[in-house]
Amino acid sequence: MTQTSLALPTGRDENWRYAALRPVTQLNWGEPSPEWTTDVEAQVTALLPPRLAGSRRLVLFAGRVVPALSDGITIGSSRGKLADALTLECLENEAPSGPSTLDIDQRFADLNRQHATQTLRLTLSTQGDAHPIEIIHIASGVSHPAIELVLPAEASAQIIERQLSRGEIASATNLRLDIHLGSRAKLHLARLLQCGTQAQHIETLNIGLADGAELDYTQISLSAANARSTALIEHANESQVNWQASALAAGRQVFDHYILTRHAQRGARTQQTFRGIASEQSRLAFNGHMQVTKSGLQSDLQQSLKCLLDGTRAEANVRPQLEIYTDVVSASHGATVGKLDRDMLFYLLSRGIDPMTAESLLKWAFISDVLTKLPMGLREQIELALLDRLPGAIASPAANAPTHESQR
């Protein structure tokens, strides 16, 4: 039973109809998070991916910052600096923070406010910082990570956020990520979901952009038992959002996305791209809802949602929605669901490429619209992670390594 006073969404709620809700609504979200011990530290250290060149790193275990594995914060301190331009604060939440909303789509964010024990606040100064910031979440037990990211006017930052979990131990994460971009601030945010097969992952993103701000967002969902991503984006004058997401679901995984983008001021632009591959008995859903109010003149919206089905019982649900209340607007969307193109496959096979590699190559090409938006260091790491899923699509590092003969 869910130990919470909040009524959680059900399949009858329009924006939750494709999510796998049973496993998350039956959880005890009030359960205390596991403790940080030396055994855990050894396990987590082994899990951490290679550091990206020049990056500053923050590691969170079960929703709390681990100073021992994080840069810029000393043990026993709640404040620190990742770099000269970047301050961070770990705010201890003694009581539920913020009021509960009536919006059912914000219900998990409300739940997070009730149970999160710490909020990580990152504030970048106007001068900016060229170094990428890595935020690594290690899921364990039930946790409610809460992050607030503030970029003042003219600031720019590159953030890479990863969701990992401690082996195949069951976990449930309810993440809240609030982003405030000041006027003309620029944020490149790359997010990777790579949890264990027993991990339940729910996240709610609230993103506010000031005039002229730009958000370049890329999300890759590779593994978790079930994942649901809810995002609310509020545009301002001339602000811009490029939203790319890709999900590769297999087994019985369910990856569900709901993105509500509001254009209430002049000249805002949104480009949304989704590329999903559902294999075996998995289910993918992407619900991209774009609103333009009467004052959202000269808004420009483009949506391209594509799904590939690769399993006899795989399922894809896409909803490209436009809700427009003014005529000075340009909006278009396209959505497709289908299988691998037989002609393309035949072309590759006729050139002597084996069927498995040919399929992998085509799938790779299918998601490349999103993959190519990733920063280089991260892209290489993700390509490595995809080797198991798309064998033969790219040369493995071993294959790239020079042989003794070539060295001679």
């Binding site: 690769d310 399922e315 809700e323 669901v337």
Partner: protein
């Protein structure tokens, strides 16, 4: 400024069919209960099974709540304040031929552009005219009977062909389907019934003209079309209502059944009274239309032009059960002044190699709100299913709204689904091009809007295509955004 003035002038042209016919009619007092349903059934001399079916629907309806999910704002409806039966007072049991029909009624249809006599002789289209709750005249019956085609009012069919009614009524839209279909199942008063026997190509187009006349009534007609194996029929539907300050409810149900290799083409030009420019009055058009392609290689095609009614809530759908069956939906929906339209389609692919096409064109002007809501669902067994959807919206003015809510649900990996949509206003370049060639602004906008709707209009039978173009012209000439 000139554009706005012209727009106001043209919009002010108003509704052309808003007159009231002063004709004696029999109506039931307002209110809905089992006695009312029994009374309707008794007037219609229906068989026992039908009365029971109606009562079952009514009992279920009392347990339901009005749906709230549509993107429309509906003022509360007092269902107990509506009269559920109104009919022109008959001198005898019913007209045996057009000569026995009240001349005032025939005059009404002449005014509406549905001259029953002339159409019968010249156009070669068989017409069933439904006035308030009852069918008043059906033309060309003899010729159709020779071909084995049954085309009559629903009441007549219930008396003469009860076996067909019992077999097919509610088999596509059961009374449990939704709130308004359930209400219709309980109180439907008349409508059209069509049966095309095996292998028969209906020798002419069939047409029904619906007219609401009396005040404080709702219209609840029910249409059932059965196309037996290898048959073909094209059916046209038109509708109008007087201008009144109160909202009137129209909750119809249309069921189509296409058996193996059968083809049904269903075209609608909906021109119910839309209310005035301030949103006062107008018809609430809450309609359930669904066709089932039961047999292999069958085809159902819906074409609709929605220009009227204050609120439209309508999703003509195809359930593609038979292998290789085809569903089509072509729609132009216009929302002007304070009109609200939430319309679209559902294509449910069940059989193998089923195909569907959806082309929807929405036009919003004034303070109109136009929503396309469409579901394409491919079930696990629908091997090789294909769908193509195109829904475009045209906005004219800064106070209107155009919304697109598609649902694509695919459970078979061999399916191919494509959906594309765009929202824009009339291109200033196109308008300028026309104007600098000496075409007036009104004509230019008319041309551009007609071009926008061309893919749908070409699916309409010729005379309906002309009517549809004229309707759009009346409402929208000069409406430059």
């Amino acid at each position: 400024m000139t554009q706005n003035a012209e727009l106001q002038d043209l919009v002010g042209k108003g509704y052309q069919h808003g007159f009231v016919t002063d004709i004696e009619s029999e109506s039931l007092p307002p209110g809905l209960n089992e006695d009312v349903v029994r009374h309707i059934s008794r007037i219609k001399r229906e068989p026992e099974f039908l009365t029971e079916w109606r009562l079952q629907a009514l009992r279920h309806w009392f347990t339901l709540k009005e749906p709230q999910w549509a993107h429309v704002k509906v003022a509360p409806i007092d269902y107990q304040a509506i009269s559920y039966y109104s009919a022109p007072k008959a001198k005898t049991d019913g007209p045996k031929s057009l000569d026995e029909v009240d001349p005032k009624l025939l005059e009404t249809y002449e005014k509406l552009g549905v001259p029953l006599h002339e159409r019968a002789r010249l156009a070669g289209v068989a017409v069933d005219a439904v006035f308030d709750s009852v069918s008043v005249a059906t033309t060309f019956k003899d010729k159709l009977e020779k071909a084995g085609v049954i085309f009559c009012s629903f009441s007549e069919a219930a008396q003469k062909h009860p076996a067909l009614i019992e077999q097919y009524l509610g088999s596509v839209v059961p009374h449990t389907d939704n709130y308004y279909a359930c209400l219709n199942s309980a109180v439907f008063s008349d409508g059209s019934f069509v049966y095309i026997p095996k292998g028969v190509r209906c020798p002419m187009e069939l047409s029904t003209y619906f007219r609401i006349n009396a005040a404080n009534t709702g219209q609840f007609e029910r249409t059932l079309i059965i196309a037996d194996e290898g048959s073909h029929v094209s059916y046209l539907e038109g509708c109008t209502a007087p201008m009144r300050d109160e909202n009137q409810l129209h909750a119809a149900v249309v069921e189509l059944v296409a058996l193996e290799r059968a083809e049904i083409k269903y075209s609608t030009v909906q021109n119910w009274y839309p209310g005035d420019e301030n949103g006062v009055g107008g018809i609430y058009n809450f309609v359930t239309k669904r066709g089932e392609c039961r047999g292999a290689r069958s085809k159902i095609s819906w074409t609709q032009v929605e220009t009227g009614s204050a609120i439209t809530w309508k999703y003509p759908s195809c359930v593609l059960k038979g292998d290789d069956s085809i569903g089509e939906f072509y729609s132009v929906a216009l929302a002007n002044h304070c009109q609200q339209a939430d319309t679209g389609t559902k294509m449910i692919h069940i059989g193998r190699n089923t195909r569907s096409t959806i082309v929807s064109k929405g036009i919003s002007a004034g303070r109109g709100q136009n929503t396309y809501r469409g579901l394409v669902k491919i079930l696990a067994g629908a091997e090789g299913a294909r769908n193509f959807t195109q829904c475009d919206s045209l906005l004219m003015g800064g106070d209107c709204g155009a919304h697109t809510f598609p649902y694509v649900e695919v459970k078979n990996p061999s399916a191919t689904i494509e959906h594309e949509a765009s929202t824009s206003r009339i291109s200033e370049d196109q308008l300028f091009y026309c104007l600098q060639r000496g075409i007036s602004e009104e004509d230019a906008v008319n041309m551009i809007v007609n071009g926008f709707c061309k893919t749908v209009f070409k699916e309409l039978p010729m005379e309906f295509a002309v009517e549809a173009q004229n309707l759009l012209a009346v409402s929208l000439e000069g409406a430059v955004g």
